[in-house]
Symmetry: C2
DNA sequence: CACTCTATCTACTGATGCGTAAAGTAGCGA
DNA sequence: TCGCTACTTTACGCATCAGTAGATAGAGTG
Protein backbone atom coordinates (compact mmCIF):
# COMPACT_ATOMS: atom_id res chain seq x y z
CA UNK A 1 0.00 0.00 0.00
CA UNK A 2 2.66 2.53 1.00
CA UNK A 3 4.77 1.35 -1.93
CA UNK A 4 1.95 2.03 -4.36
CA UNK A 5 1.26 5.41 -2.80
CA UNK A 6 4.94 6.34 -2.97
CA UNK A 7 5.05 5.45 -6.65
CA UNK A 8 2.00 7.54 -7.46
CA UNK A 9 3.12 10.49 -5.36
CA UNK A 10 6.61 10.31 -6.86
CA UNK A 11 5.12 10.42 -10.33
CA UNK A 12 2.54 13.16 -9.89
CA UNK A 13 3.19 15.01 -6.67
CA UNK A 14 0.81 15.36 -3.78
CA UNK A 15 -1.88 17.48 -5.37
CA UNK A 16 -1.92 16.00 -8.84
CA UNK A 17 -2.09 12.46 -7.52
CA UNK A 18 -5.63 11.27 -6.87
CA UNK A 19 -6.69 8.71 -4.35
CA UNK A 20 -8.27 6.80 -7.23
CA UNK A 21 -4.85 6.57 -8.84
CA UNK A 22 -3.37 5.22 -5.62
CA UNK A 23 -6.16 2.67 -5.44
CA UNK A 24 -5.52 1.59 -9.02
CA UNK A 25 -1.77 1.35 -8.46
CA UNK A 26 -2.29 -0.76 -5.35
CA UNK A 27 -4.88 -2.93 -7.11
CA UNK A 28 -7.57 -2.28 -4.53
CA UNK A 29 -10.64 -0.12 -4.30
CA UNK A 30 -10.70 3.42 -3.00
CA UNK A 31 -12.39 2.71 0.33
CA UNK A 32 -9.56 0.28 1.06
CA UNK A 33 -7.03 3.04 0.60
CA UNK A 34 -8.83 4.98 3.29
CA UNK A 35 -9.19 1.97 5.59
CA UNK A 36 -5.54 0.98 5.43
CA UNK A 37 -3.96 4.27 4.56
CA UNK A 38 -4.74 6.42 7.55
CA UNK A 39 -8.13 7.85 6.62
CA UNK A 40 -7.02 10.83 4.59
CA UNK A 41 -4.79 11.78 1.72
CA UNK A 42 -2.66 13.93 4.02
CA UNK A 43 -2.03 11.09 6.44
CA UNK A 44 -1.18 8.72 3.61
CA UNK A 45 1.35 11.15 2.21
CA UNK A 46 2.77 11.85 5.66
CA UNK A 47 3.28 8.12 6.18
CA UNK A 48 5.18 7.89 2.91
CA UNK A 49 7.38 10.81 3.91
CA UNK A 50 8.09 9.41 7.35
CA UNK A 51 8.95 6.00 6.01
CA UNK A 52 11.37 7.31 3.41
CA UNK A 53 12.98 9.75 5.82
CA UNK A 54 13.41 7.01 8.37
CA UNK A 55 14.91 4.72 5.77
CA UNK A 56 17.41 7.33 4.71
CA UNK A 57 18.40 8.29 8.24
CA UNK A 58 18.80 4.67 9.27
CA UNK A 59 20.88 3.94 6.22
CA UNK A 60 23.22 6.89 6.69
CA UNK A 61 23.56 6.24 10.40
CA UNK A 62 24.18 2.52 10.18
CA UNK A 63 27.53 0.85 9.71
CA UNK A 64 29.48 4.02 10.14
CA UNK A 65 31.57 2.96 13.11
CA UNK A 66 35.04 4.25 12.56
CA UNK A 67 37.20 6.70 14.47
CA UNK A 68 38.36 8.34 11.25
CA UNK A 69 36.14 11.19 9.95
CA UNK A 70 37.24 10.59 6.37
CA UNK A 71 36.10 6.98 6.57
CA UNK A 72 32.89 7.93 8.33
CA UNK A 73 32.00 10.49 5.70
CA UNK A 74 32.74 8.17 2.81
CA UNK A 75 30.66 5.40 4.29
CA UNK A 76 27.82 7.77 5.03
CA UNK A 77 27.83 9.06 1.47
CA UNK A 78 28.00 5.57 0.08
CA UNK A 79 25.01 4.57 2.17
CA UNK A 80 23.14 7.65 1.04
CA UNK A 81 23.68 6.97 -2.66
CA UNK A 82 22.92 3.29 -2.24
CA UNK A 83 19.59 3.97 -0.59
CA UNK A 84 18.64 6.76 -2.95
CA UNK A 85 19.37 4.78 -6.10
CA UNK A 86 17.66 1.69 -4.72
CA UNK A 87 14.52 3.48 -3.61
CA UNK A 88 14.26 6.00 -6.35
CA UNK A 89 10.58 6.77 -5.85
CA UNK A 90 11.18 7.40 -2.16
CA UNK A 91 13.77 9.97 -3.04
CA UNK A 92 11.44 11.61 -5.53
CA UNK A 93 8.68 11.85 -2.94
CA UNK A 94 10.93 13.20 -0.23
CA UNK A 95 13.03 15.74 -2.05
CA UNK A 96 11.12 16.77 -5.11
CA UNK A 97 7.44 16.51 -4.24
CA UNK A 98 7.16 16.94 -0.50
CA UNK A 99 9.23 20.07 0.04
CA UNK A 100 6.46 22.34 -1.16
CA UNK A 101 3.14 23.10 0.44
CA UNK A 102 1.67 21.62 3.57
CA UNK A 103 4.44 19.12 4.18
CA UNK A 104 7.43 21.42 3.96
CA UNK A 105 7.68 21.37 7.74
CA UNK A 106 7.68 17.61 8.00
CA UNK A 107 10.29 17.24 5.29
CA UNK A 108 12.32 20.03 6.77
CA UNK A 109 12.58 18.35 10.14
CA UNK A 110 13.49 15.07 8.47
CA UNK A 111 16.21 16.81 6.54
CA UNK A 112 17.43 18.52 9.69
CA UNK A 113 17.95 15.18 11.36
CA UNK A 114 20.04 14.03 8.42
CA UNK A 115 22.07 17.24 8.39
CA UNK A 116 22.67 16.86 12.12
CA UNK A 117 23.75 13.29 11.56
CA UNK A 118 26.21 14.41 8.89
CA UNK A 119 27.54 17.08 11.22
CA UNK A 120 28.22 14.26 13.69
CA UNK A 121 30.00 12.30 10.98
CA UNK A 122 32.30 15.26 10.51
CA UNK A 123 32.86 16.10 14.13
CA UNK A 124 35.55 14.89 16.45
CA UNK A 125 37.81 16.51 19.00
CA UNK A 126 39.12 19.01 16.45
CA UNK A 127 35.76 20.16 15.09
CA UNK A 128 33.11 22.17 16.87
CA UNK A 129 29.70 20.52 16.23
CA UNK A 130 27.92 23.88 15.99
CA UNK A 131 30.34 25.17 13.40
CA UNK A 132 29.84 21.95 11.48
CA UNK A 133 26.16 22.66 10.77
CA UNK A 134 26.54 24.95 7.75
CA UNK A 135 29.20 22.62 6.39
CA UNK A 136 26.88 19.65 6.88
CA UNK A 137 24.04 21.47 5.15
CA UNK A 138 26.40 22.23 2.28
CA UNK A 139 27.39 18.60 2.04
CA UNK A 140 23.84 17.34 2.06
CA UNK A 141 23.02 19.82 -0.68
CA UNK A 142 26.02 18.66 -2.67
CA UNK A 143 24.90 15.05 -2.36
CA UNK A 144 21.42 16.04 -3.50
CA UNK A 145 22.88 17.87 -6.46
CA UNK A 146 24.90 14.87 -7.51
CA UNK A 147 21.86 12.65 -7.06
CA UNK A 148 19.91 15.03 -9.31
CA UNK A 149 22.59 14.67 -11.95
CA UNK A 150 22.46 10.90 -11.62
CA UNK A 151 18.68 10.77 -12.00
CA UNK A 152 18.93 12.95 -15.05
CA UNK A 153 20.95 10.41 -16.97
CA UNK A 154 24.19 10.36 -15.03
CA UNK A 155 25.94 7.06 -14.48
CA UNK A 156 27.97 5.35 -11.82
CA UNK A 157 27.64 2.97 -8.90
CA UNK A 158 26.87 4.37 -5.47
CA UNK A 159 30.54 3.83 -4.65
CA UNK A 160 31.55 5.90 -7.67
CA UNK A 161 29.18 8.68 -6.72
CA UNK A 162 30.40 8.74 -3.15
CA UNK A 163 34.03 8.81 -4.32
CA UNK A 164 33.27 11.60 -6.76
CA UNK A 165 31.72 13.66 -4.01
CA UNK A 166 34.67 12.95 -1.74
CA UNK A 167 36.97 14.22 -4.49
CA UNK A 168 35.20 17.55 -4.45
CA UNK A 169 34.71 18.05 -0.74
CA UNK A 170 37.27 16.11 1.24
CA UNK A 171 40.37 18.21 0.51
CA UNK A 172 38.45 21.30 1.57
CA UNK A 173 37.11 19.60 4.69
CA UNK A 174 40.57 18.39 5.63
CA UNK A 175 41.91 21.92 5.19
CA UNK A 176 39.09 23.31 7.33
CA UNK A 177 39.86 20.76 10.02
CA UNK A 178 43.43 21.99 9.97
CA UNK A 179 42.18 25.55 10.37
CA UNK A 180 42.70 26.70 6.81
CA UNK A 181 39.65 28.57 5.56
CA UNK A 182 39.51 29.98 2.05
CA UNK A 183 39.56 33.74 1.71
CA UNK A 184 39.42 36.00 -1.34
CA UNK A 185 43.05 37.10 -1.00
CA UNK A 186 43.83 38.33 -4.44
CA UNK A 187 40.64 37.38 -6.14
CA UNK A 188 39.13 40.82 -6.37
CA UNK A 189 36.33 42.14 -4.23
CA UNK A 190 34.24 44.38 -6.47
CA UNK A 191 30.63 44.54 -5.42
CA UNK A 192 28.13 42.33 -7.09
CA UNK A 193 25.52 44.32 -8.92
CA UNK A 194 22.11 42.87 -8.45
CA UNK A 195 19.16 43.37 -10.78
CA UNK B 1 1.71 42.05 -9.75
CA UNK B 2 4.44 39.49 -10.31
CA UNK B 3 5.94 40.50 -6.99
CA UNK B 4 2.69 39.83 -5.18
CA UNK B 5 2.25 36.52 -6.97
CA UNK B 6 5.80 35.48 -6.11
CA UNK B 7 5.21 36.26 -2.44
CA UNK B 8 2.01 34.24 -2.32
CA UNK B 9 3.46 31.32 -4.27
CA UNK B 10 6.58 31.37 -2.10
CA UNK B 11 4.42 31.16 0.99
CA UNK B 12 1.92 28.52 -0.06
CA UNK B 13 3.14 26.76 -3.17
CA UNK B 14 1.37 26.56 -6.47
CA UNK B 15 -1.64 24.49 -5.51
CA UNK B 16 -2.29 25.86 -2.06
CA UNK B 17 -2.13 29.43 -3.27
CA UNK B 18 -5.43 30.73 -4.56
CA UNK B 19 -5.90 33.43 -7.13
CA UNK B 20 -7.98 35.27 -4.52
CA UNK B 21 -4.94 35.34 -2.26
CA UNK B 22 -2.82 36.75 -5.07
CA UNK B 23 -5.47 39.37 -5.69
CA UNK B 24 -5.54 40.32 -2.01
CA UNK B 25 -1.76 40.51 -1.83
CA UNK B 26 -1.67 42.73 -4.90
CA UNK B 27 -4.51 44.86 -3.56
CA UNK B 28 -6.72 44.33 -6.59
CA UNK B 29 -9.64 42.12 -7.51
CA UNK B 30 -9.43 38.70 -9.05
CA UNK B 31 -10.35 39.61 -12.63
CA UNK B 32 -7.44 42.05 -12.58
CA UNK B 33 -5.09 39.20 -11.80
CA UNK B 34 -6.35 37.42 -14.89
CA UNK B 35 -6.21 40.55 -17.03
CA UNK B 36 -2.67 41.48 -16.09
CA UNK B 37 -1.33 38.07 -15.15
CA UNK B 38 -1.54 36.09 -18.33
CA UNK B 39 -5.08 34.71 -18.18
CA UNK B 40 -4.50 31.62 -16.10
CA UNK B 41 -2.94 30.51 -12.88
CA UNK B 42 -0.45 28.36 -14.76
CA UNK B 43 0.72 31.23 -16.90
CA UNK B 44 1.06 33.49 -13.87
CA UNK B 45 3.19 30.93 -12.08
CA UNK B 46 5.24 30.29 -15.19
CA UNK B 47 5.95 34.00 -15.48
CA UNK B 48 7.16 34.07 -11.89
CA UNK B 49 9.42 31.11 -12.52
CA UNK B 50 10.85 32.54 -15.70
CA UNK B 51 11.52 35.89 -14.15
CA UNK B 52 13.32 34.45 -11.14
CA UNK B 53 15.30 31.99 -13.24
CA UNK B 54 16.34 34.74 -15.60
CA UNK B 55 17.35 36.94 -12.72
CA UNK B 56 19.50 34.24 -11.22
CA UNK B 57 21.14 33.26 -14.48
CA UNK B 58 21.87 36.86 -15.38
CA UNK B 59 23.31 37.50 -11.95
CA UNK B 60 25.60 34.47 -11.98
CA UNK B 61 26.68 35.11 -15.54
CA UNK B 62 27.39 38.81 -15.19
CA UNK B 63 30.60 40.35 -14.02
CA UNK B 64 32.52 37.11 -14.09
CA UNK B 65 35.19 38.11 -16.55
CA UNK B 66 38.44 36.68 -15.32
CA UNK B 67 40.84 34.18 -16.79
CA UNK B 68 41.28 32.48 -13.43
CA UNK B 69 38.75 29.71 -12.63
CA UNK B 70 39.12 30.28 -8.90
CA UNK B 71 38.17 33.92 -9.29
CA UNK B 72 35.35 33.09 -11.66
CA UNK B 73 33.87 30.56 -9.29
CA UNK B 74 34.09 32.86 -6.28
CA UNK B 75 32.45 35.69 -8.14
CA UNK B 76 29.73 33.42 -9.44
CA UNK B 77 29.00 32.13 -5.96
CA UNK B 78 28.99 35.61 -4.53
CA UNK B 79 26.51 36.72 -7.18
CA UNK B 80 24.35 33.69 -6.46
CA UNK B 81 24.17 34.35 -2.73
CA UNK B 82 23.61 38.05 -3.26
CA UNK B 83 20.66 37.47 -5.54
CA UNK B 84 19.18 34.70 -3.45
CA UNK B 85 19.33 36.63 -0.19
CA UNK B 86 18.03 39.79 -1.84
CA UNK B 87 15.12 38.09 -3.59
CA UNK B 88 14.24 35.54 -1.00
CA UNK B 89 10.72 34.87 -2.24
CA UNK B 90 12.02 34.27 -5.74
CA UNK B 91 14.33 31.62 -4.43
CA UNK B 92 11.51 30.00 -2.49
CA UNK B 93 9.31 29.88 -5.56
CA UNK B 94 11.99 28.51 -7.81
CA UNK B 95 13.63 25.86 -5.67
CA UNK B 96 11.12 24.84 -3.09
CA UNK B 97 7.71 25.23 -4.66
CA UNK B 98 8.13 24.84 -8.37
CA UNK B 99 10.16 21.66 -8.57
CA UNK B 100 7.14 19.46 -8.04
CA UNK B 101 4.16 18.96 -10.25
CA UNK B 102 3.40 20.50 -13.61
CA UNK B 103 6.34 22.90 -13.59
CA UNK B 104 9.11 20.46 -12.81
CA UNK B 105 10.14 20.55 -16.45
CA UNK B 106 10.32 24.30 -16.62
CA UNK B 107 12.32 24.56 -13.42
CA UNK B 108 14.52 21.71 -14.46
CA UNK B 109 15.53 23.39 -17.68
CA UNK B 110 16.18 26.64 -15.82
CA UNK B 111 18.35 24.79 -13.38
CA UNK B 112 20.14 23.04 -16.22
CA UNK B 113 21.13 26.35 -17.71
CA UNK B 114 22.60 27.43 -14.38
CA UNK B 115 24.45 24.14 -13.97
CA UNK B 116 25.83 24.51 -17.48
CA UNK B 117 26.88 28.05 -16.67
CA UNK B 118 28.69 26.81 -13.57
CA UNK B 119 30.39 24.11 -15.62
CA UNK B 120 31.65 26.90 -17.87
CA UNK B 121 32.92 28.80 -14.84
CA UNK B 122 34.96 25.77 -13.94
CA UNK B 123 36.21 24.91 -17.38
CA UNK B 124 39.34 26.02 -19.09
CA UNK B 125 41.99 24.30 -21.14
CA UNK B 126 42.69 21.78 -18.41
CA UNK B 127 39.10 20.73 -17.76
CA UNK B 128 36.78 18.79 -20.05
CA UNK B 129 33.37 20.54 -20.09
CA UNK B 130 31.45 17.25 -20.25
CA UNK B 131 33.25 15.88 -17.21
CA UNK B 132 32.48 19.12 -15.43
CA UNK B 133 28.72 18.55 -15.49
CA UNK B 134 28.40 16.24 -12.46
CA UNK B 135 30.82 18.48 -10.59
CA UNK B 136 28.77 21.54 -11.51
CA UNK B 137 25.58 19.81 -10.41
CA UNK B 138 27.29 18.98 -7.12
CA UNK B 139 28.34 22.59 -6.66
CA UNK B 140 24.91 23.97 -7.40
CA UNK B 141 23.48 21.53 -4.88
CA UNK B 142 26.05 22.59 -2.33
CA UNK B 143 25.14 26.23 -2.83
CA UNK B 144 21.47 25.36 -2.42
CA UNK B 145 22.27 23.48 0.77
CA UNK B 146 24.15 26.42 2.23
CA UNK B 147 21.31 28.74 1.18
CA UNK B 148 18.90 26.43 3.00
CA UNK B 149 21.01 26.71 6.11
CA UNK B 150 21.07 30.48 5.78
CA UNK B 151 17.31 30.75 5.41
CA UNK B 152 16.87 28.57 8.46
CA UNK B 153 18.57 31.06 10.74
CA UNK B 154 22.13 30.95 9.48
CA UNK B 155 24.05 34.19 9.31
CA UNK B 156 26.61 35.84 7.11
CA UNK B 157 26.93 38.22 4.21
CA UNK B 158 26.81 36.86 0.67
CA UNK B 159 30.58 37.28 0.60
CA UNK B 160 30.90 35.16 3.74
CA UNK B 161 28.67 32.47 2.34
CA UNK B 162 30.59 32.37 -0.93
CA UNK B 163 33.89 32.17 0.94
CA UNK B 164 32.56 29.42 3.16
CA UNK B 165 31.52 27.40 0.15
CA UNK B 166 34.89 28.02 -1.47
CA UNK B 167 36.56 26.67 1.67
CA UNK B 168 34.72 23.40 1.27
CA UNK B 169 34.95 22.89 -2.47
CA UNK B 170 37.93 24.76 -3.89
CA UNK B 171 40.74 22.56 -2.58
CA UNK B 172 38.97 19.54 -4.01
CA UNK B 173 38.34 21.26 -7.33
CA UNK B 174 41.95 22.36 -7.55
CA UNK B 175 43.06 18.78 -6.86
CA UNK B 176 40.67 17.48 -9.52
CA UNK B 177 42.03 19.99 -12.00
CA UNK B 178 45.49 18.65 -11.26
CA UNK B 179 44.24 15.13 -11.90
CA UNK B 180 44.00 13.98 -8.31
CA UNK B 181 40.70 12.20 -7.69
CA UNK B 182 39.78 10.83 -4.29
CA UNK B 183 39.67 7.06 -3.95
CA UNK B 184 38.84 4.86 -0.99
CA UNK B 185 42.41 3.62 -0.61
CA UNK B 186 42.43 2.38 2.92
CA UNK B 187 39.01 3.43 3.96
CA UNK B 188 37.39 0.05 3.91
CA UNK B 189 35.02 -1.21 1.26
CA UNK B 190 32.47 -3.35 3.06
CA UNK B 191 29.14 -3.41 1.31
CA UNK B 192 26.42 -1.12 2.45
CA UNK B 193 23.44 -3.00 3.73
CA UNK B 194 20.24 -1.44 2.59
CA UNK B 195 16.89 -1.82 4.29
C1' DC C 1 -25.88 66.76 -19.39
C1' DA C 2 -25.43 62.77 -22.46
C1' DC C 3 -22.43 59.51 -24.46
C1' DT C 4 -18.73 56.37 -24.51
C1' DC C 5 -14.69 53.97 -23.29
C1' DT C 6 -11.87 51.85 -20.08
C1' DA C 7 -10.88 49.94 -15.77
C1' DT C 8 -12.55 47.59 -12.06
C1' DC C 9 -15.64 45.02 -8.88
C1' DT C 10 -19.24 41.59 -7.11
C1' DA C 11 -21.15 37.45 -7.68
C1' DC C 12 -21.76 33.54 -10.03
C1' DT C 13 -20.87 28.83 -12.79
C1' DG C 14 -18.64 24.66 -13.52
C1' DA C 15 -15.39 21.20 -12.69
C1' DT C 16 -12.56 18.55 -9.85
C1' DG C 17 -11.73 15.36 -6.33
C1' DC C 18 -11.84 14.10 -1.31
C1' DG C 19 -14.24 11.24 1.61
C1' DT C 20 -18.29 8.17 2.58
C1' DA C 21 -22.60 5.61 2.44
C1' DA C 22 -25.14 1.66 0.63
C1' DA C 23 -25.59 -2.58 -1.32
C1' DG C 24 -23.65 -6.65 -3.10
C1' DT C 25 -20.22 -10.76 -3.16
C1' DA C 26 -16.78 -14.23 -1.91
C1' DG C 27 -14.54 -17.04 1.51
C1' DC C 28 -14.70 -19.50 5.86
C1' DG C 29 -15.64 -21.62 10.23
C1' DA C 30 -19.41 -23.71 13.01
C1' DT D 1 -27.63 -22.76 6.46
C1' DC D 2 -26.22 -19.03 9.24
C1' DG D 3 -23.30 -15.37 10.43
C1' DC D 4 -19.02 -13.00 10.26
C1' DT D 5 -15.27 -10.71 7.93
C1' DA D 6 -13.21 -8.54 4.31
C1' DC D 7 -13.59 -6.52 0.28
C1' DT D 8 -15.77 -4.62 -4.04
C1' DT D 9 -18.63 -1.55 -6.95
C1' DT D 10 -21.31 2.35 -7.47
C1' DA D 11 -22.88 6.50 -6.47
C1' DC D 12 -23.15 10.65 -4.18
C1' DG D 13 -22.48 14.91 -0.82
C1' DC D 14 -19.74 18.51 -0.16
C1' DA D 15 -16.07 21.90 -0.34
C1' DT D 16 -12.85 24.33 -2.90
C1' DC D 17 -11.28 27.11 -6.23
C1' DA D 18 -10.34 28.48 -11.43
C1' DG D 19 -12.24 31.31 -14.55
C1' DT D 20 -16.09 34.52 -16.33
C1' DA D 21 -20.29 37.37 -17.02
C1' DG D 22 -22.58 41.22 -15.96
C1' DA D 23 -22.89 45.37 -13.18
C1' DT D 24 -20.60 49.67 -11.75
C1' DA D 25 -17.73 53.68 -11.56
C1' DG D 26 -14.94 57.22 -13.24
C1' DA D 27 -12.98 60.15 -16.74
C1' DG D 28 -12.67 62.49 -20.98
C1' DT D 29 -15.33 64.94 -24.77
C1' DG D 30 -18.69 67.83 -26.90
Amino acid sequence: MLDAAARVFARSGFHDASMDAVADEAGVSKPMVYTHGGGSKEELFARCIRREAERLLTSVSGGIGSPDPETRLYRGLRAFFTTVTTHREGWMVLYRQARAGTFAGEVFSARSRIVTRVAELLADSSVDPAAAMPVASTLVGAAEGLADWYFDGGTGTPDDLAAQLMSVVWPGLAALRAGHAWSPTDVGTERVTDS
